[in-house]
């Protein structure tokens, strides 16, 4: 892992630590207080704060996860080199697109 990948991994880890704490707290609150899907969607619909929070979350995930998987694959499998890096860059793009789509779907639902 290069110094730049390491730095990106750890910086996004800080962002994700905060984001996941909020995300989990929100889930637990929502479930515990018996909010229905309708209630939740009513709150997220058109909510710019929601949109921004989850946009940051998705971007951080799209950086963090492929770097982590790259380490796992390099240590546990013989896969190395350019093909691995391209595959993981594509994964980053996939996470970005799918995540962005999901966030926007909830935002505009």
């Amino acid at each position: 892992m290069s110094a730049i990948l390491f730095t990106a991994q750890r910086l996004t880890a800080f962002v994700l630590a905060a984001a996941i704490a909020i995300h989990l707290a929100t889930i637990i609150y929502a479930v515990h207080s018996g909010l229905t899907a309708g209630n939740i969607l009513a709150r997220t619909h058109g909510n710019i704060g929601f949109l921004l929070f989850y946009a940051v979350f998705v971007v951080a995930v799209a950086i963090h996860a492929p770097i982590g998987l790259r380490n796992v694959l390099r240590e546990w499998t013989p896969w190395r080199g350019r093909s691995l890096d391209v595959a993981l860059a594509l994964l980053a793009l996939l996470l970005l697109i799918l995540g962005g789509r999901a966030v926007f779907a909830v935002f505009s639902a």
């Binding site: 892992m1 390491f6 730095t7 240590e75």
Partner: protein, 243 residues
């Protein structure tokens, strides 16, 4: 086993190189016997072809480390009674993650080459300093250097490190610990080169914080935290554009 008596110790000793086998020896049990005493007894009284390494016998030189019942240790500072209960066999192997020269002696060249690769030596710069550097003993840098400075290069941490086992290029806890003491040396003029040296793919960021090195170090040094220090220094250096 308490005192003296006629008890006999069952000792399994690795013979050969990477390929080899355990050979059984029966060694008289003695009070306060160290593992090194056992090896020496075998070599002097039973099989003079047994190869192993030692020098000081008192925990200063760092040459007698071996894997004792699965765990790397200084054999001179380990009493048999600490390792096994009565009736259990004592199992002696060469240090892991080192090429085996013969029996219990390992080749340490690569281990020490990595100290050089990690820039684990003082770099004074091209010109002599005009004045003495003032280093207050209580300064954070001096304390950080102090925490790791007592390493005697025995190789116990390197033998215990899972990352070295996975990636033979990994610089390892001892070399990185030494680099960290120098990162904290305000007189050193080779910091950028050192940070580059310890942040390659085999550098400090490969550490998984398993903490075996810190657990097993006979000098109670904590290379894990030295490596963590290098990670912080490397991250700051990367954010500044690697000057």
């Amino acid at each position: 086993m308490s005192a003296g008596g006629n008890a006999i110790l069952d000792v399994q000793v690795w013979r050969g190189r990477e390929k080899g086998e355990f050979q059984a020896f029966a060694v008289p049990r003695r009070t306060h016997q160290t593992v090194l005493d056992v090896v020496t007894a075998i070599q002097r009284e039973q099989d003079s072809t047994l190869s192993y390494r030692f020098a000081c016998r008192v925990g200063m030189c760092g040459s007698c480390a071996m894997v004792v019942n699965g765990r790397p240790r200084w054999t001179c500072r380990t009493r048999v009674a600490e390792v096994i209960k009565d009736g259990e066999p004592l199992r002696l192997e060469p240090l892991r993650n080192f090429p085996v020269v013969k029996d219990l002696a390992v080749e340490m060249t690569q281990f020490f080459d990595k100290w050089k690769d990690a820039r684990g030596f003082f770099e004074p710069g091209t010109m002599p300093e005009k004045d003495f550097a003032v280093v207050p003993p209580a300064s954070p840098e001096r304390r950080a250097a102090d925490a790791g400075i007592e390493c005697i290069g025995c190789g116990v941490c390197y033998s215990a490190c899972d990352v070295v086992a996975w990636d033979e290029d990994y610089l390892g806890p001892a070399a990185l610990n030494r680099a960290w003491t120098l990162v904290n040396d305000v007189r050193d003029r080779g910091q950028a080169v050192r940070l580059k040296a310890v942040s390659g793919s085999a550098g400090c960021q490969a550490c998984h914080t398993h903490m075996n090195c810190t657990q097993f170090c006979p000098k109670a040094i904590a290379p894990t935290y030295s490596i963590a220090g290098l990670k912080r220094a490397m991250l700051r250096w990367t954010l500044r554009g690697r000057p």
